[in-house]
């Protein structure tokens, strides 16, 4: 039984040699170009930064910022058209860019370790864990068989892997995502490097696993005095883990400084916009700041300041003169690149970005808006009622997996229900059941009585008129051979009696509503950006004016700024068009921002359900508490004070025993009864919240006692 873990005390590490600590990494004026035909376009335009021993530096940016290329440049792993174009990278007293290939290979894996984004594909699927970790050890040292095995076991234990002797012999596909990433970390740290580079180390992992990995990296950095360079787009991760932050945009540094300073009193408009574009788990923001358009292309780059086309504060100088990095004594941040820096102001208090069709949410002039709102006004009561829904999947010959294990929910008209959970919880399956895309093994879904329910095909069509679905994968959910207009009007073809011209007109109107101009009608999915494709998906779902829209991770795979555009669009639909929706997401912040009520799922069951604000700020179920705590707060000071709750292992590591609470095996405050009796989802006292726990609120109390 563990109480929540703490960040360990930092022990000072004795560095060889006397004197002040030398930076582990010193990048000076690093440049990278991408050669296309005859042209060489700069991708990284001369960036300079340091990483000190034991320090964690975050490199933040969106696509096209050059952040990933920076990491690859350091290790000289650039390939093909991408080439280094100057600057120095000093590690261990030597400029890496001047080393021979052989010398560089000696550096990789021994002085510098690197971990990558998707551990499933970053590990060799054909080799066992042991083989892969052994490889990195043997490359840089002499090891006897026994010593090697010993070292591997030690490494795996140190990164928190349970049962290392068994894991060693396994193949990557047999491990969960979190364990795979731990293996990568073990490999990277095997030879005690001075510097660890982590490229999006937690992307794609469950929130609770992300929290574990974060704590692990922090601890390892502190214990070994390793400098860490983290590449990320996730401001939450930045807040939770890094000491210093560097913000990149379009190939250059636009701001840098201590993380607390950058997050709370930044000077560059982009930084500020980025912060305001990220939904917060603690809520509070009325509307996200959605930066219009997309990050700039490699070429041609905007003249003057590269951010000026999207910046509302841009003035003439910004269009013509490229700003340089400046430092002022009065700033908390170290440097920024802006002619007209922003001053401290409450969030949302400044208008930072331009507005255009991509980020103004819905088009309020669209005539269909009024129609939608009108229809929504007349709908009262419960839109969907699910009773004891179950969905089983056969696995192999005999086993059955209970993806959805008895879920009962209600969605009133005009409300948005957010369903949040991690991998394996069944939320995607549930979403498909609610939208009629899949049939439950047992249980019922009722909808508003006024829609007639006949049998057979007509009933199915009725249901589709009633509930529509927005898919997660924008590429996969649009037929690559059909134009935007064809995709959006398809539901009208099957589900309504409209004429061809009426269908076209309606489809165009809904496209307009979602910020897609008529000129897009003839385009194909591969010609659109991710944000545009998602708008198409949303327009397609709205076009039959369904009573309910079910959305499965509609923001996944999008840049932060583009994500905010979609969030605002959905928010407007909710507020102006009275949209009734079910929103499924793993991102607690997004769910909080957009939902009226929220249901938390774990292993096919709803463990807590109630008004979003209540559930997420005062969680009663231990899992909800852990989930919420896994997302770092934006305010680094608050975040530092917070005690994260760490759960044991991954969702996949511990199988449910069948009796008792499904969460008991990982629960920090589980008691005996939890393993024998399954708790029912019951209302708590006078509140509107329900929780399935024998001891609701006990985890929160335990934390408070410790804090």
């Amino acid at each position: 039984m563990t109480h929540p873990a703490y960040a360990p005390e930092t022990t000072p590490v004795d560095l060889p040699g006397a004197g002040p600590a030398v930076p582990v990494l010193q990048a000076r004026d690093l440049r990278t170009v991408i050669a296309r035909g005859q042209d060489r376009h700069p991708a990284i335009d001369g960036i300079t930064f340091d990483v000190n021993p034991g320090e964690i530096v975050a490199l933040v940016g969106e696509s096209g910022s050059g952040k990933s290329l920076t990491a690859l440049s350091v290790l000289r792993l650039l390939k093909g058209a991408v080439q280094n174009d100057g600057g120095t990278v000093t590690v261990g007293g030597r400029d890496l860019l001047g080393l021979s290939a052989k010398e560089m290979r000696a550096v990789r894996g021994s002085e510098i370790g690197m971990i990558f984004q998707d551990p499933m594909t970053a590990l060799n699927p054909f080799q066992t864990i042991e083989t892969q970790v052994a490889e990195t050890l043997r490359l840089h040292g002499e090891w006897s068989k026994a010593a090697l095995r010993e070292r591997i076991l030690t490494l795996l234990t140190e990164v928190g892997i349970v049962n290392p002797p068994m894991r060693m012999k396994q193949y990557p596909y047999e491990l969960s995502g979190g364990t795979q990433q731990r293996v990568m970390i073990a490999m990277a740290l095997a030879n005690e490097p001075k510097l660890l580079i982590a490229d999006e180390p937690t992307t794609g992992l469950d929130a609770t696993v992300q929290a574990q990995i974060m704590v692990l990296i922090k601890r390892l950095a502190a214990d070994h005095g390793t400098g860490v360079l983290i590449i990320t787009h996730d401001l939450g991760l930045v807040s939770g883990i890094s000491d210093r932050t560097i913000v990149m945009y379009a190939g250059e540094v636009v701001e840098s400084g201590p993380t607390a300073a950058v997050l709370s009193s930044c000077r560059h408009p982009y930084t500020r916009a980025l912060i305001e574009a990220t939904p917060r788990v603690e809520g509070g923001a009325e509307r996200l700041t959605a930066i219009p358009g997309s990050p700039p292309e490699l070429h041609p780059r905007p003249t003057g300041c590269r951010f000026h086309p999207r910046c509302a504060l841009a003035q003439d100088a910004c269009r013509t003169d490229h700003p340089h990095l400046q430092s002022r004594a009065e700033d908390a941040v170290d440097e920024f690149r802006c002619w007209f820096p922003v001053e401290d102001a409450p969030l949302g208090g400044l208008r930072i970005v331009q507005e255009d069709e991509t980020n103004t949410g819905i088009d309020e002039d669209a005539p269909v808006l009024e129609e939608l709102a009108e229809v929504a006004r007349h709908r009262t009561g419960t839109a969907l009622r699910a009773t004891d829904l179950r969905r089983d999947f056969k696995v192999g010959r005999r086993a059955v997996t209970h993806a959805v294990a008895g879920v009962s929910l209600e969605v009133p008209f005009g409300e948005t229900l957010g369903i949040v959970g991690e991998s394996g919880c069944g939320k995607s399956t549930l979403a498909r059941l609610l939208a009629g895309l899949d049939q439950p093994t047992s249980g019922t879904i009722e909808r508003d009585e006024s829609e007639s329910a006949t049998s057979g095909r007509e009933a199915r069509l009725d249901f589709h008129r009633y509930a529509q679905f927005v898919f997660q994968d924008t590429f996969g959910s649009l037929d690559p051979r059909r134009t935007v207009l064809q995709s959006v009007s398809e539901p009208l073809q099957n589900l309504t009696e409209l004429s061809t011209s009426d269908r076209r007109r309606t489809a165009l109107q809904y496209m307009k509503l979602c910020g897609l101009p008529a000129s897009m009608a003839g385009r194909y999915p591969h010609e659109l950006s991710g944000g545009q494709r998602q708008r198409v998906g949303i327009a397609r779902a709205l076009v039959v004016e369904p009573a309910v829209v079910v959305m499965d991770e509609p923001m996944s795979g999008l840049d932060v700024s583009v994500q905010a555009q979609i969030v605002n669009l959905l928010q407007d639909l909710r507020e102006e068009a009275g949209l009734t929706a079910v929103l499924v997401s793993h991102d607690v912040g997004v769910v909080r921002h957009l939902s009226d009520r929220v249901a938390v799922m774990y292993l096919g069951r709803v463990v807590e359900e109630g008004p979003a604000d209540e559930v997420l700020s005062d969680p009663q179920h231990p899992y909800t508490a852990a989930l919420v705590s896994a997302v770092p707060l934006h305010d680094p000071e608050e975040e530092a004070k917070r005690v994260p709750i760490l759960l044991k292992g991954d969702v996949g590591d511990v199988s449910s025993a069948g009796t008792g609470c499904a969460f008991a095996a990982r629960c920090p405050v589980a008691q005996d009864v939890c393993t024998t009796a399954e708790p029912a989802l019951v209302p708590l006292g006078e509140t509107a919240t329900r929780a399935a726990c024998h001891f609701p609120g006990s985890l929160t109390t335990a934390i408070q006692e410790i804090a």
């Binding site: 990558f116 970053a122 060799n124 787009h233 999947f393 192999g396 995607s428 996944s556």
Partner: protein, 343 residues
């Protein structure tokens, strides 16, 4: 590849599967491998059974073979005698059952021409054919794969062009044209090599060169192409980048990491190619008078030697099925992801 919060729900099913597999595995760990093998063998048996049936149907569809066997100028009594002797007067299903039963015992009756057990004749020639096929693969892959690796990993335009020529030529020139061409060049014109190899592997080594080289061009061409594109693709994988980031030397990266998936696809294609190579083998055997099953079959067909035709045809098919089965097993060995999980 996304750098955003790619939803972990894609792992939802994977995690579910994993848990279920673990539970299953604890109970049936040892037996599951045997179960897999059992299922594969069952599939094998089904295909063999289908092969037997198809052949039977084909031959039955030609009508009553008694007249053909008896010969053109035979009397009605002779034909009738043959009919009863061979059992063609029995009902179809009875013939079928008898046929399957005998086939399983490798009994195909006597060769009409030579009055020897048909299967014995076939088995006598089997090693020559198998040897030729094996040699063709060894030479073809032995040349094609290194060339493909070199081509895929380097950027030399001239070398690339040469490889392209090899591939195109290997695929466009019919195997019999190629064989005759070699004979013309090396036997007729230059007199370096003997034109025929009627002793098969017991012939002087010089006689082996042309038959093997002719047959090897096919495998050489597709191996080169497959390896070339395969290695290029496999070098783009994420785990290659990881290996490089650990400081693995370029050559090791190729041999230890990048080559594996190429090998697995090679194994797959080999299974599919085998039937085609056997086809080509028949042609090569005919051209070079190689003592394999090809000429035996051709002769049997020309002479309406029913039993021998059956025996030879069936043997060809069974070779293909068995080797495909072996390739399947080999594939599982090479790719750990297919093990234990039902593939």
């Amino acid at each position: 590849m996304t750098t955003q919060t790619a939803p972990p729900d894609q792992r939802e099913t994977a995690a579910k599967l994993e848990r279920a597999e673990k539970r299953m595995r604890k109970r049936t760990d040892v037996s599951s491998n045997w179960a897999l093998l059992g299922r594969a063998l069952l599939r094998l048996a089904l295909v063999v059974f289908g092969v037997l049936t198809l052949l039977f149907i084909l031959l039955q569809s030609s009508g009553d073979p008694s007249a053909a066997i008896a010969g053109d100028d035979s009397t009605v009594e002779e034909i009738e005698r043959i009919r009863t002797e061979y059992g063609f007067d029995r009902p179809v299903l009875v013939q079928y059952a008898d046929y399957v039963w005998s086939a399983l015992q490798l009994d195909f009756g006597q060769s009409f021409q030579l009055d020897l057990p048909a299967m014995d004749l076939v088995l006598e020639r089997l090693p020559s054919t198998l040897g030729l096929i094996l040699a063709a693969y060894v030479v073809g892959i032995g040349i094609g794969m290194p060339l493909g690796l070199l081509s895929g990993l380097t950027d030399n335009k001239a070398f690339e062009w040469v490889c392209n020529m090899i591939v195109l030529a290997g695929q466009a020139i019919p195997v019999f044209v190629y064989g005759v061409l070699l004979v013309w060049l090396f036997s007729a014109q230059m007199r370096w090599l003997p034109a025929l190899a009627p002793d098969g592997f017991e012939a002087p080594p010089l006689a082996l060169i042309m038959p093997i080289m002719t047959l090897a061009t096919g495998p050489m061409a597709w191996t080169l192409e497959l390896t070339r594109s395969g290695i290029r693709e496999s070098m783009q994988e994420d785990y290659i980048r990881t290996a490089e980031s650990k400081g693995v030397a370029p050559w090791r990266v190729v041999t230890r990491h990048a080559v594996r998936p190429v090998l697995t696809s090679l194994v797959t294609i080999l299974g599919v190619d085998l039937a085609g190579l056997l086809s080509g083998g028949v042609l090569v055997e005919v051209i070079f008078a190689w003592p394999g099953m090809g000429p035996l079959l051709v002769g049997a067909v020309n002479n309406r030697d029913y039993n021998l035709v059956m025996a030879a045809t069936l043997t060809f098919a069974v070779i293909v099925v068995l080797i495909n089965f072996a390739m399947d097993l080999l594939y599982r060995r090479l790719d750990p992801r297919t093990r234990k999980n039902g593939g």
